[in-house]
Subunit: 263 residues, 4 copies
């Protein structure tokens, strides 16, 4: 009798790429709010969502992860990963929600956890400036005047780069925010007659608990999305940039809200 | 209306991590046949399969891939990847088939194509000796006396290493072979009450067409599977090693045979 | 007229892998003090140094770097790197100094800066647990009871792993410490008759300025150095482990002390 | 008494990043001849060389390496690497030679061997289309009509991409060719007063033996060199592209010709 929350399923169930939830996360976040072309943004939404506004947020996050009993953070090659998330402003049944058209991580475990939640994850490399607790020409202050950068590359091409200069503390997170995002769970069929009839195609909404947010710093920002021969990410390039943010977040995930079957 | 064979699904459908089948593959293969503990091998099989023998094969493959119209091999960062596959000897309804308990690739696109077929793919780095068409102390001959090596690492730990010395041409492929392997398609639920009730849990059988095999070289081999703190791969360590193989294979995939729902 | 502090030297001098000093660094450090076999430790020292004790320190550091005018930390793919350093306790002319037999970094720029200072750098991947400013099951507290891990891998093999549990603040850095380390600058000849007559072979001592150290946490530790088929690192495996440390350091480098020509 | 051809120097001399020559290499090469701005090309040459013509060649090579007794190709993580080389057409004392302004490899051992020979090596990722011995939509024929691609990325940015369509066999290698290239050995000082007075600064010429070249295929080509914020590589962008080549080469290196001290 083999077992495990994901493949590989094995006799003792220790080999599963991702163990049973709950999953605990803590991360440092750099984020940039920006505007895109409204018609284009709308065209990226799945059935069941409507565009709420043409405001997007790009998140760059340096995560550390642990399962309920795993203490993976003590063997950090299994725990640390970095992520870039693009979020659109949508509404579901009249309520504002975020929707994610693109996301990149640098680790297989994070990719698998993402697919299960409906995040359309691919492998990419994210880099984010770190503040340190010492004064140095090699690091920004985590405070007024501190300058931070971030970049995303995939397959050896730079896709996105951002800069943020912190100015003041803020009361609210960037918008759209990833809490309660609505995502698309999608798992295709390969049987010849069913290439367009997926086994799983459903709209879901993220659930999380034990959320903690650090003080939030806000400031000026820039964001560049580079041309690319194969992906549609550049269609969501900024028409204007609103603001940048820097904060930390802790969150636990062990549930998901089923919204609608799209099959 | 967003589209695409996999996530990310987008307006023009160009951004899907994996495009619609057919998928074309060509690869150079180093393989080692070996024996394992019979009870342990049996314990790795899913419901619906029985152990046919305690013979396994480890495959190390350097692939190049293209979609039907993509010519991805001209931008080879999107096309080339390396893979290590472990196969067990099983039977389904009395017919001999292979079953894969573990597999590693080094690319997100290959990982996604694998999940769709039921391969339990994780990210790992495979290295395989290459023959060259020139005589050199830096390369083996592809022929009698040629010595080849291969290794698999994941998360910075070496998991497997193999050596093969070619002795003679052979008439048959190593056994078990990956053609017609029976695999487990498995996609979990995250809704809290359903962590053990997957959305997809089915036994499937690979289908392929336009298969070509090069001349097959066979010889002596060694295989080491290293201890590891978290995975059960070492439970399938060799009790004896039978033979090594080197050949090339070309194959096209655009179909899958549904066998049985395990939900 | 081409220019640049290192190769590649080019017309505008902008392409040099490493720019002119000064170089500014800030890093988070996990360290473990341990004992090794005394005769073996002595055998690793170059001419001009004597063994001071059989005490070693292994350092695992997450660095951020900037040149004098470069602000590289805003494009952090060029600025961030991780390093593992092994230090022996030596004496030079009767004064205690550290000597480095082995060091690994994950970036070419850091490797080149190292060679210039006499660090025997190779490419390897270091992972170090991070504390976060929020409470989470995915991160330790940076304080009493906080548990940290680190690992080093090179070429897909794990070489070193460490664990530290913080217990109390300490007044002093681990010993030996990397400030004022004595190193070997060595640049070989390839001309056939001179393979054993290097162009550069000299004993040098690190110089640094603007050093800042954070509060230092100390506690219990473990350290494993794994067997390896090709390197002598395992000869310096711990016979006992003394203590673990966690602190941050900022430092600027633009000078070096020449000690002795060993040609 | 520590020993070794390069750092790290250790008691048994087994740990040296690079062992004593001779070094044996075999590689598959894709190359593109092209023209650049003549004045710019001239400005990249070091003292002692003059521009011979504005013709350059970009080489993309998939290498396998072994030391004299090492059989590294049997543990190919230590043996295989990929390289991109840019060569200019220069003359030294009236004789035509190649000069290398830029080169990228993906392995520390190759980087170190390069620095010793005067190659200005940095870390970068090269990808090159492979032919296979089987017919497949995933691979080109190694012959008339076969289409090959290559790319170079460093630090997550694409720097160069090439395409070659083979048309006919050719009698001669691309020009300039890397045999007998003249290079700059350069090892800086860090002592404060000597930042511009390197320890080693000399013009040298490559020597090789046991050179073998496969049949050479030639055809049409394209080459793009992309903009980059920090490097001068784009100054050497093609003004026109002449031809593409595909061949294999085997070579042994254990010597170097000293030409001139530039200190």
């Amino acid at each position: 009798m083999i077992k495990g929350y994901t493949l590989p399923r094995t006799p003792r169930g220790k080999s599963s790429l991702v163990p049973n939830p709950p999953w605990h996360f803590v991360g440092n976040v750099l984020a940039v709010e920006y505007k895109v072309d409204e018609d284009i943004a709308a065209s990226f939404l799945p059935e069941g969502l409507e565009l709420a506004s043409n405001q997007c947020t790009a998140y760059f996050i340096e995560w550390q992860y642990a399962s309920e009993s795993g203490e993976e953070y003590l063997d950090p090659v299994f725990s640390q990963y970095r992520e870039t998330i693009i979020l659109l402003s949508a509404s579901y049944n009249g309520s504002p929600v975020a929707y994610c058209p693109f996301i990149w991580v640098d680790q297989d475990k994070a990719l698998m956890r993402g697919l299960i939640q409906g995040w359309p994850k691919q492998i990419g490399e994210t880099w984010i400036t770190r503040p340190y607790e010492l004064s140095s020409k090699a690091a920004p202050v985590l405070g007024k005047g501190g300058k931070f950068g971030a970049s995303l590359s995939a397959n050896g091409r730079r896709l996105v780069e951002a800069r943020v200069t912190l100015e003041e503390k803020a009361d609210s997170l960037p918008s759209p925010t990833f809490a309660n995002a609505v995502l698309l769970r999608y798992f295709p069929e390969l049987v010849n007659s069913k290439h367009n009839k997926p086994a799983v195609h459903e709209l879901v909404q993220l659930k999380s608990r034990d959320v903690e947010i650090s003080p939030i710093w806000k400031g000026q920002a820039s964001l560049n999305i580079f041309d690319h021969p194969y992906t549609e990410l550049p269609d969501l390039s900024p028409t204007s940039v609103l603001a940048g943010y820097r904060f930390s977040v802790a969150v636990t995930v062990d549930d998901l809200l089923y919204l609608r079957n799209l099959k």
